[in-house]
């Protein structure tokens, strides 16, 4: 079995609205997959189900960690899922604005460290060691993402593109094996988007990550993804390689019928 994540017949209702209807997908190990679809198709909702924010009404979310046994994630709490190895970023950037850039990343290390109250007060040797380790690891991540010039700046003062990257850095700090990126290129200029593309490749290769991303920038999606899933009105209308998706009549209809063809550019 090569999947890291398997979603089977996932269904979720908000009141009368069918937000997700029998959605299934699989993410292979080491793969970059993309989730696309018009606005309101249920992409972020699916992410929210995967990360425990919404509880699905029916269906299964099954995680196959590289080490350890498979688990059904349906009833796990948000932080437990993160601890199991799924990390995510948010479409509407949710950083800890009043904290420094480094601290934002250090928060990501929280679930991999264990100093308690006594350690905090007494600041014994092992706590100091752990604290130094957190700082160093976080700094390394910032270097990798290219944010090390901002270490001590407040997150809310960063330029927009850097904030998006900081979200990725924070997610990376939780040591995931599956990374969910919610519109990572939104609001970026072409230069930044290109850098992001390289970054995502290097994340997959250097950290052995599997990546699922929601993105509206089709050029980026076509360049990055090996596998694409298309949602429309909460239903999966197509899946396949970029070439297959381009030619899929259902996809073209969904996009042209709902939104301007500008989405393709």
């Amino acid at each position: 079995m090569d999947n890291v994540l398997e979603v089977k017949n996932l269904t979720l209702n908000f009141g009368g609205l069918q937000a997700l209807d029998n959605v299934s997908l699989e993410i292979n190990k080491g793969e970059i997959a993309a989730l696309i679809g018009p606005n309101g198709a249920g992409k972020t909702t699916l992410f929210n189900c995967l990360t425990g924010i919404h509880k699905p009404a029916a269906g299964d979310i099954i995680l196959h960690p590289p080490q350890g046994k498979s688990r059904r994630l349906n009833n796990f709490k948000i932080n437990q899922i993160t601890t199991l190895g799924i990390a995510r970023t948010f479409q509407n950037i949710r950083l800890f604005g009043g904290m420094t850039v480094l601290e934002n990343v250090m928060i990501g290390r929280h679930c991999r460290t264990g100093a308690g109250i006594a350690g905090a007060i007494l600041r014994d040797k092992s706590t100091r060691h752990e604290e130094n380790l957190i700082v160093n690891e976080s700094y390394c991540i910032l270097e990798k993402i290219g944010l090390n010039i901002y270490v001590n700046d407040l997150a809310k003062n960063l330029p927009y593109g850097a904030q998006r990257r900081l979200e990725i850095a924070r997610a990376l700090a939780t040591d995931p094996f599956l990374l969910l990126l919610d519109e990572p290129a939104a609001g970026m200029n072409p230069q930044e988007t290109k850098e992001l593309e390289d970054l995502i490749y290097s994340l997959r290769d250097d950290h052995n990550l599997s990546i699922l991303l929601i993105e509206h920038d089709m050029k980026l999606v076509m360049n990055l993804a090996q596998n694409i899933f298309v949602l429309d009105y909460g239903e999966e209308i197509a899946r396949g390689t970029p070439q297959e998706i381009c030619r899929n009549p259902a996809v073209i209809k969904a996009y042209l019928g709902v939104e301007a063809s500008a989405e393709y550019n």
Binding site: F14, T44, N48, I53, F90
Partner: protein
């Protein structure tokens, strides 16, 4: 049966006052998502203003009906003005601030107004004249419901009907509902949100003033602190009914009034306030959406 009836009507009386006050909380919360902590103080100021006007007019030798009308009108106008001013000072500059900032500011306003009345008037309890006109009753009922209780229930019922009609049918009422649904959208379609918010405070404060006069006439005494517990109880009523919902506030007020009345009547009168606070805690923990409220999903 008589005892039960007595408790029932006393609960109904309290309940109508709570409902009048709860309307103010619920309308403001519906639009601003703010617990207007100073609302109880507006009610207290309404009662005080009516007392001052009534005392002056009594000394000047006005007739009792003229006193009632003038005192009520002045109190309503002044409370509305206070409500309006409070919003402009303590909440309006904080529209974009983090959620807890306006709440802290509201607590500050509540403390400020209490002490303003205490310093400008008195810290003692003042006897409060019964301003309400006696409503003639059949003998059969007069031993379980007093005339002032009846006028409280009737006045509140009329006000609530008027408010419901106002919200349903007038242009301002529609604007209020639109703003409560979605502030930005309302602004886009041309609703003057600032004016709607001011109107909400004015209406809520006017209702609170009438509640203040009714209850102070009924209990016969007043001091600067009566707004605090009345305010929290009314907030409880608003939450009980489902905060943001106007029929909910009315229902919540009545349920709370009755529950309190029966609990003090059949269990113990020492713990009168504990029942209300305990109810508040229990609802917020177990059913924060209240009886008639809708649960809203957090947008992610």
């Amino acid at each position: 049966m008589n005892y039960f009836g007595e408790l029932f009507f006393s609960g109904l009386t309290r309940g109508s006052i709570y409902a009048l006050l709860a309307l103010g909380y619920t309308m403001v919360y519906g639009i601003l998502q703010l617990i207007n902590f100073a609302h109880g103080e507006i009610y207290m100021i309404g009662a005080f203003t009516a007392l001052i006007v009534a005392s002056v007019l009594t000394v000047k030798g006005f007739s009792s009906i003229a006193i009632l009308v003038l005192a009520a009108v002045v109190a309503v106008v002044y409370s509305a003005a206070y409500g309006y001013t409070v919003e402009k000072i303590a909440y309006k500059p904080l529209r974009q601030a983090p959620r807890l900032s306006p709440l802290i500011s509201a607590i500050g306003m509540s403390i400020f107004l209490q002490n303003y009345i205490m310093l400008a008037q008195t810290s003692d309890f003042l006897p409060y004249p019964n301003l309400l006109p006696p409503i003639p009753l059949f003998n059969r009922f007069s031993n379980i419901i007093g005339p002032s209780e009846l006028s409280i229930v009737l006045t509140s019922a009329i006000l609530m009907i008027l408010l419901t009609l106002f919200i349903k049918f007038t242009k301002t009422g529609k604007a209020m509902r639109a703003t409560a649904q979605d502030k930005e959208m309302a602004m886009l379609v041309g609703v003057n949100v600032n004016r709607v918010i001011s109107t909400t405070f004015i209406i809520g404060s006017a209702l609170a003033a009438i509640g203040g006069i009714l209850i102070a006439s009924h209990t016969g005494r007043i001091n600067f602190y009566i707004g605090f517990s009345a305010g929290i109880k009314a907030f409880t009523a608003a939450v009980l009914g489902g905060i943001g919902s106007i029929p909910g506030a009315m229902l919540g007020g009545l349920v709370l009034g009755l529950a309190e009345s029966f609990a003090t009547g059949y269990i113990s009168s020492d713990y009168e306030d504990v029942f209300a606070f305990a109810l508040l805690v229990l609802i917020l923990i177990f059913k924060p959406s209240g009886l008639l409220g809708r649960a809203n999903n957090q947008k992610v």
